[in-house]
């Protein structure tokens, strides 16, 4: 029974979109690109994690977070701490005044590992921390804000302030965190060298796998009653409250989920790129994550992924060839997305390309699924 329904869905319009994306990421890119470029795509995809979270909490629930960098960074730093400890074995750091601790700590005249670094010797702890630490901070922020009915613009500004605070804190405490340079020179993951081409390729596939996991979780949430309630809350919060729902708990849930997604993204970033620094934590990267989501289509999970790929690719291209144009372009993009196409590429696709699809063979037209489709439910 279950398998049949799954196959039905796979052959439906929505399912085809997922299959296409999987095909693109798992088959086309790896075949067409060399390890270096594939690694770059992998890097772009790590931002997609944050964008997915934003589709859930901003697009669906109306909670704009200008601080997803916080959670991306926390996840990334957790992974970086583990990798750094491994790279700072007593043999590798024999020339330091205090061997066995990371180089930047040595430079800052620390003589022992700070207590909060100790647990990161363990990989399992690190894996848990990558999701748990962002979720915990998100929980604190969300409970404090949503229980007091703070939302909208105030909430956005406070998340922005917290992003700024965390950045300043990380930079200021360079003995503990590596300061403005971040945690660099990461080498091996449990003995396996992550800097080789083979490693980068493998990590790319791991990243894609994790991304699809988050994608599926996100889609499941959006299609559930919870997803409908989030939508209802976005437009008529009072009505939802007066239908017996504790609105705050739903907002807390979706905000923490988005934080966890971002944390995973950060960890994947650290693994693929080989370092983590405060420049991915603060106000600017956080708002860039929002633009990725907005360009892709803030109500579309798949759109967010494409948005992340396209905007980052554009950024790389422009920053190399026409650096001045990039900031102009980004600024214009913000304005254009808000004024001209608020539903992003997904919206444009729905309006211009989808009508053309009916010209394709009937295979694509069979709609799977039993439930009536939400008008806003997003596929692409």
């Amino acid at each position: 029974m279950k398998a049949n329904r799954f196959f039905d869905w796979l052959m439906s319009r929505e399912g085809i979109y997922y299959v296409l994306l999987a095909f693109l990421l798992v088959v086309i890119f790896p075949l067409a690109l060399d390890a270096f470029r594939l690694n770059m795509i992998g890097k772009y995809l790590t931002y997609a994690f944050a964008a997915l979270g934003l589709v859930l909490c901003w697009g669906r629930s109306g909670i704009l977070s200008l601080g997803q960098g916080i959670f991306f960074g926390l996840g990334g730093y957790c992974m970086a701490m583990f990798l750094k400890l491994e790279a700072s074995s007593p043999e590798n750091t024999a020339i330091q005044s205090t061997p066995g601790i990371p180089d930047f700590m040595d430079w800052n005249q620390l003589t022992a590992l700070p207590w909060f670094w100790e647990p990161f010797h363990s990989f399992s702890f690190t894996l848990i921390a990558v999701v748990a630490v962002p979720a915990l901070l998100a929980l604190i922020i969300a409970v404090a804000m949503f229980k007091r009915r703070v939302g909208g613009v105030y909430f956005a500004i406070i998340t922005q302030a917290i992003a700024a605070i965390l950045t300043i804190l990380i930079i200021g405490q360079q003995g503990f965190t590596g300061g403005v340079n971040g945690i660099t020179d990461l080498r091996t993951l449990m003995g396996w060298d992550i800097r080789t081409d083979e490693a980068k390729t493998l990590l790319y596939f791991v990243c894609v796998g994790m991304l699809f996991l988050c994608l599926i979780i996100g889609a499941w949430v959006m299609r559930s009653k919870l997803g409908r309630i989030l939508l209802a809350m976005r437009d008529q919060e009072d009505r939802v409250r007066f239908s017996g729902y504790d609105v705050a708990s739903f907002k807390i849930f979706v905000f923490c989920l988005a934080a966890m997604f971002a944390g995973i993204g950060g960890a994947m970033f650290t693994l693929q790129v080989g370092f983590m620094s405060p420049s991915f934590v603060g106000i600017v990267p956080s708002i860039e994550m929002v633009i990725l989501c907005a360009v892709g289509g803030r109500n579309s999970l798949l759109g967010a992924i494409y948005g992340a790929l396209i905007v980052n690719a554009a950024k790389t291209f422009f920053s190399e060839s026409f650096p001045e144009l990039w900031l102009y372009g980004l600024g214009v993009l913000f304005i254009a997305v808000v004024l001209a196409f608020p539903d992003g590429l997904a919206g444009l696709y729905r309006r211009y390309v989808m009508p053309l699809e009916s010209k394709l063979p009937a295979l694509l037209r069979r709609n799977g699924g039993n439930a009536p489709t939400l008008p806003v439910e997003e596929t692409k």
Partner: protein, 308 residues
Amino acid sequence: MFADYTMTELTSIFAMQGFAGLSLFSIFVLMALGLAIIFGQMGVINMAHGEFMILGAYTTYLTAQVFESLMPGLYGGYFFVAMFLAFVVTFALGALVEWLMIRHLYHRPLDTLLATWGLSLILQQTYRSVFGAREVGVSLPDWMMGSIAVTDLVEIPINGIFVMVLALLIAFAVYLLMYRSGWGRKVRAVVQNRPMAEAVGIDSGRVDRVTFALGCGIAGVAGSAFTMIGSTGPTSGQLYIVDTFLVVVFGGAQSLLGTIASAFTISQAQSTMEFFLSGSMAKVLTLLVVVGILMLRPQGLFAMKVRR
């Protein structure tokens, strides 16, 4: 920490830090006033507010250059011309931005946030292209240089006093405008009940435009004042934007008096702490306390009781 200093020394330290705090206070007040009008009265978020300030600063810089090369004798008075020009230029740009962009977004505050962020990026890049990436400075006219020695240990810089007096004058002017003038009444009418206001013949579109432009104009003047205290670069606006929003929100966005009180509290807290902790920790601590208080009391510390 405190034990290292004698009582007199401590008092002097507090006094000097207090005064440094007052300088910061004046900047906060000037920036926050403009934002308080736009956000507090109109509910519009302007993430480009810092860039408007910088525009005022650059205008001042240009004016200084012009005076220096063409009318060196009159340099002493250039500042007043500069301030006026800064106001006019930023006012004009504000009106243009409102007309092009903001007026379509009044019902979508989150989207206004994003759109004005885009604007700030564009402005930053424009400044970089036109003025270069390096910071530019303005030389103070003679009468503003130096300090007044109040006691043996306490010296107060004149430019700081000037900026503070300026801030207070402008705050007073804004208060008069908002609460004692016909215009202010129109703005408050439009904010509280737009359809009714329009029904009695108020051109709400124009009121919106002028109010937004006014907020930007005040930012321009703030930028002018800013040049007295520091140098200006394309990204300087970013330094203060988060602080300014927090000041406005902390003070209770609806209340001008609250904004001033909040600016005072935050600036004093930060500068006093700066002496005893490192600069960054002082900032972190101040921001944390503000955010913490906002989490406990979202309407701001100084908000007046509002009908639920």
